[in-house]
């Protein structure tokens, strides 16, 4: 028989204002096994923990029930307090009488009744608790960063600076990501590549960082501290060790008609290419779908002109298998497709462009050499219209429900840069709200209005109508002046919503990391654990977690690195002892548990069992303790009741239900 102590917390007035805590204490003393019960204002305080310590010692308690807040808040606190007093920490149960009771009820009588019932269930569970001991697992001191944009670069640098080796896996031929496509950055207007290129160089030169470009994560297995990852290095068709990066192959390549991904399809590239001049590594790849040699077998010009003999048409994809202790996801974003927004005429006119396309047009290395010009006729625009919130903040099925966060600021930036460089070009911005929370952000936007004369109009655009004379007729509303506006523009720029990189779904599935309805990776706690995935050992960096600008991305990248370093610095991890196990005599080998296990922790073995004197070999489920996260999906699926979860056994849960229904 257990000797149970019940401790009821007031949580100031959080609980005590709605629940009669004295009544809960009184009722607890009638419960089987309970030898001690008391209440206190703040059980989690030093003084409260001291009460628990004293009671354990004096009353020789073997189990505790703490009626307080959610176990997410203070389960660890009370388990540690119990351990200090010599009790097994898994002999502590929390009855959540705050979030599940006092906060959601108003009537004191009803809330007290519910608190008593919750206490009773917890007592019933403790009566069947058994001491548990966590196991240990080792930590591989190497980190994997998926994505080589500014988020991945910063995370990799920070982890490597702490002395741990890092591998970056980047899908495209070069690291750099979206930031490498930008011309200038807000709110200081410094050139994006000027600040990014040194970081790319640093990553490339760092002795502890290894970059896999033109590579993708193929599979992930294992668990926190001990992941095994297969990386597919796609055939580059160019020998990384021999290539000098001279660029002659790209000049001579006769196949030059492929739309350039880097320039958002505004111009074309050769079949053998590096995405941009500062690419890291500065080694081209052959796009086999565009290469004449691969399509027809004839050509081979790149091979002939390459002085270094680096071209290798026979290269094949290579799979690298590596072990990691921590994985950081930094897969970034893309702009949404605008095919559902026909009213803005994006598909009808070359002069309706997205903001990212404008970045490339404004960039000296872009398709127009940095000259602002209409893509239809090359003329300089005199009237420019920017449309905000295209596909952001939508409640319909066309767009995204969230605010993309960066558009207000980059539009102010574009408007300012254009007014600065081309003073006789008028710039009009149609906005719904201008959102500028950030250091020096609102001042930046006000400068666009006050110093650069950008015309901001509160109201959305209804339609953009291409005119026979090549102009674009913009029909919008001015809600403050209460009038409808018809404006002839030369160019229209759409601030399209951003969305997580479409590949992130596949990656999240491999990592068993959870993802929200917008495909953003979910953090373990929205406020207190914003850079960790609920899946242990997986960390989040950059826009894959939610829209953010560069300063925020860099901050979060550093935070994700710190969390990864905190993990890598440990030699061993304690594993959760609340894992599933199967009863060999009850298991019928049906495989249903293995099918529902999200962690791949269940395998089947042919085992010899002794079933009441009958020896026979049976196919039986075996749980890998290190992989099992204790979710309990298998225990409820198992048709024969063979699967049971330590610390949450079927008997315990039924005892709780019985106690509640008593």
């Amino acid at each position: 028989m257990q000797r149970i102590g019940v401790f009821v917390c007031h949580c100031g007035t959080n609980i005590a204002a709605t629940v009669d805590v004295k009544k809960v204490v009184e009722m607890a003393l009638h419960e089987p096994g309970v030898v001690h019960a008391e209440d206190y204002a703040y059980m989690c305080s030093e003084a409260g923990q001291e009460l628990i310590h004293k009671a354990i010692k004096e009353k020789h308690l073997t189990g505790l029930v703490v009626c307080s807040c959610s176990p997410r808040m203070h389960e660890t606190t009370f388990r540690n307090a119990a351990e200090k007093a010599g009790l097994n920490p898994y002999m502590v149960e929390i009855a959540n009488i705050r979030e599940h009771c006092s906060w959601i009820h108003k009537d004191i009588e009803e809330a007290t009744e519910k608190a008593v019932i919750l206490m009773r269930a917890a007592v019933a569970k403790v009566n069947l608790d058994a001491p548990l001991k966590p196991g240990e697992s080792r930590v591989t001191k190497r980190a994997l960063v998926i994505g080589g944009g500014i988020a991945g670069i910063q995370t990799a640098l920070d982890i490597a600076e702490a002395g741990y080796p890092v591998d970056i896996v980047e899908k495209t031929p070069s690291i750099g990501g979206r930031m490498s496509q930008l011309d200038k950055t807000f709110p200081t207007l410094d050139c994006s590549s000027c600040i990014l290129t040194p970081k790319m160089g640093e990553v490339n030169a760092h002795p502890l960082i290894n970059i896999y470009t033109y590579s993708e994560v193929e599979s992930v297995s294992g668990f926190v501290g001990d992941f095994t990852v297969e990386i597919r290095k796609k055939a580059r068709s160019v020998d990384m060790n021999k290539c000098t990066g001279c660029g002659v192959c790209q000049e001579k390549c006769p196949s030059k008609k492929t739309p350039s991904e880097f320039n958002r399809g505004l111009n074309t590239r050769s079949a053998i290419y590096t995405p941009f001049a500062q690419a890291v590594p500065n080694v081209p790849v052959i796009d086999r779908d565009a290469c004449i040699k691969f399509k027809t077998g004839k050509c081979g010009i790149c091979s002939k002109v390459c002085q270094a003999g680096a071209i290798d048409y026979d290269q094949i994809d290579e799979i690298v298998t590596e072990k990691y202790g921590a994985i950081v996801v930094a897969t970034g974003f893309d702009m949404i497709k605008l095919d559902k927004y026909d009213e803005y005429a994006y598909s009808q006119s070359k002069d309706v462009i997205t903001s990212l396309e404008l970045e490339r047009i404004m960039n000296a290395a872009g398709p127009t050499g940095g000259h602002l010009e209409r893509l239809s006729d090359g003329k300089a625009p005199k009237e420019m219209v920017f449309i905000q919130c295209v596909g952001s903040r939508c409640a319909d099925n066309r767009g995204k429900s969230y605010c993309s966060k960066i558009c207000c600021m980059y539009t102010a930036k574009h408007a300012m840069l254009i007014r600065d460089k081309y003073p006789d070009t008028n710039v009009t911005v149609f906005y719904i709200d201008v959102r500028t929370p950030g250091k020096n952000f609102d001042e930046f936007y006000r400068r666009a209005v006050e110093d650069y004369g950008v015309n901001y109009i509160k109201g959305q655009v209804g339609k953009v109508i291409p005119q026979p004379n090549g102009k674009l007729l913009v029909q919008g509303a001015d809600l403050l002046d209460n009038k409808q506006i018809l404006k002839e523009a030369d160019m229209v720029v759409l601030a399209a919503a951003i969305e997580p990189n479409p590949d992130v779904r596949k990656i999240a599935t491999m990592l068993t990391a959870s993802i929200d309805t917008n495909n953003f990776l979910t953090e373990a706690h929205a406020k207190l654990r914003p850079v960790e995935s609920p899946t242990a050992g997986i960390f989040l960096s950059g826009v894959c977690q939610g829209p953010k600008d560069i300063p925020e991305t860099v901050s979060q990248a550093g935070a994700a690195a710190v969390k990864a370093i905190g993990l890598l610095a440990k030699d061993k991890l304690l594993t959760n002892p609340c894992t599933a196990h199967s009863d060999e005599l009850l298991c019928n080998g049906c495989s249903q548990c293995a099918n529902v296990c999200p962690y791949g922790a269940i395998t089947y073995e042919d085992k010899e069992v002794n079933d009441h004197g009958v020896r026979e070999t049976r196919r039986i489920a075996v749980v890998n303790d290190a992989l099992c996260q204790g979710c309990g999906a298998c225990t409820v699926t198992c048709p024969s009741g063979a699967m049971d979860l330590q610390g949450f056994s079927n008997r315990q849960i039924l005892a709780e239900v019985d106690a509640i229904c008593r």
């Binding site: 009213e343 919130c389 903040r393 959305q460 209804g462 339609k463 919008g476």
Partner: protein, 129 residues
């Protein structure tokens, strides 16, 4: 005569629109071909319903200037659809009048089978006053 509150509730019920979803972007007014003819502008329909000033709405010129082209319904990013609100306000006028000018059974013979149903219903509400 119903109260303004119950008329506002009726407009919400008939239209199926929750006017509180509006974020005041003005895309409806930007899209409206009859904008200049209207005294109450499409984006204002929403606040008239929220503020339960239905009397002004049903007395407005806008009520009968709306062409039911549904550009605002099509483009509204917040699923508020002012065109549906104004259509519901018209229904209220019609219902209060309590008369039917045509019997339902007479209608099928009068219409071209290619005419979209929605257009037909809106047109009937508009022109039978």
């Amino acid at each position: 005569m119903k109260t303004e509150h119950s008329r506002a509730e009726m407009i919400k019920e008939i239209s199926g629109v929750n006017p509180l979803k509006c974020m005041k972007c003005g895309k409806c007014s930007a899209s409206c071909p009859s904008y200049n003819e209207m005294d109450i502008k499409p984006h204002q329909f929403v606040s008239y319903v929220i503020n339960e000033d239905i009397e002004s709405l049903v007395k407005s010129k806008s009520l009968w200037k709306c062409l039911s082209c549904f550009a605002c319904v099509e483009r509204c990013p917040r699923d508020v659809k002012p065109g549906k609100l104004i259509d519901a306000a018209r229904q209220i006028v019609v219902r209060e009048r309590g008369k039917n000018y045509l019997l339902a059974d007479d209608i099928p013979e009068l219409i071209d089978p290619d005419t979209p149903q929605q257009l037909l219903v809106s047109a009937l509400r508009r022109y039978r006053r």
